[in-house]
Symmetry: C2
Subunit: 214 residues, 2 copies
């Protein structure tokens, strides 16, 4: 598998979609699939599928298509999945709680080990069976337990200080919901989630349909 | 403004980011900005900025850059913002509640008018000052109040039926958090939000850094 060339962000963003669709295909007992069929499911072109997967060395065979199980495992490996990725959640508000209660993450290996918050009234309690600890204990916990990912569902005013603590403790990646983009040193990965961007994309699409007079 | 050519999804997805950054620039009192400065803020290239904005007819002037206020308003108009977009929330669980309580949407015009749920224990109560009604009353409410957007934070098992009701009532767009992609007739816009995709993108980036030995 040739991984030396730079893969574009657009391709990287599509990889989880491939992974989701392949997972659903496996659950339906499908063993192989053509680029055309996979493209139709994903609402992209067959040529796009072939181009995307060629970034990682192909995987397909002319006249056969893709072996669903192998492709699923290979894309999983590219995505860094397959083992357990220990996570912590900073912030046990509504959004943090929604994510903690979401069932789909642990099965992908994203296991939330502890929750950290500043609210004394909830310290020691549990959400979805996971203990809430005081935020002041987060840094040691990350260091002592080789936590890879910090999920950040705190107000923006608290985000920078928490990121600094987590980075000093050796965190590998930050999943940031705190609205403003955060900056981290090289060697730490960040994905900023902006729910309002996705809502604005929807209003763009609605507006586009109105302009077309559909 | 030439809006006749097809704008790529990648550009459309960047428009809300431009809008956010321009909003922040306005708040800081910045009146004009070069493509280079705007690009640096957004971590893209100046040439990308110029290309993106050329899709909509440019807006910039050689040697002057962009007028922040005008560009903000123009991109807002392209995004269908500027007026009120009446929304309803289907599902008052943790995620729905987190979104209802989020302060940033109403200022963009996305005003949640009512919340709909199936749980009899919460019907009639309020979240963030917004009344919770029974899901069976959703269809009439959408029709009678020209609701544009239905936000969907319900379990997947309930999603299809709710989408069907909302579409029959004339909904314009669906913001879908119910994990599985939903399908709607032409003339209705959908944005599917997959939080797990964003988390897998993070694990990809972590894995990439590990592979580089940073």
């Amino acid at each position: 598998m040739n991984r030396s060339k730079k893969v574009s962000d657009a391709v990287i963003k599509r990889l989880p979609r491939y992974y989701r669709h392949l997972s659903a295909l496996m659950e339906s007992g499908v063993e192989r699939i053509s680029s055309k069929e996979l493209a139709a499911r994903m609402n992209i072109t067959a040529s796009q599928v072939r181009q995307d997967l060629n970034n990682f060395g192909g995987f397909g065979h002319q006249g056969y298509g893709y072996n669903v199980n192998i492709l699923y495992r290979e894309i999983g490996a590219i995505l860094g999945l397959g083992g357990e990725l220990p996570c912590i959640m900073a912030g046990a508000g509504h959004l943090g709680t929604a994510i903690i209660n979401y069932k789909g993450f642990a099965s992908r290996g994203f296991v939330i080990k502890k929750i950290f918050d500043i609210d004394e009234n909830i310290i020691g309690k549990e959400i979805n069976g996971i203990e809430i600890m005081h935020i002041k204990d987060m840094q040691n916990y990350i260091r002592d337990n080789s936590v890879e990912i910090a999920m950040l569902c705190v107000p923006h005013s608290a985000a920078n200080e928490i990121v600094k603590c987590a980075v000093e403790a050796g965190i590998k990646g930050i999943w940031n919901f705190s609205y403003h983009d955060i900056s981290v040193p090289d060697g730490v990965a960040v994905v900023n989630v902006h729910l309002s961007d996705s809502l604005m994309t929807l209003s763009y699409k609605i507006n586009e349909i109105k302009n077309k007079g559909l």
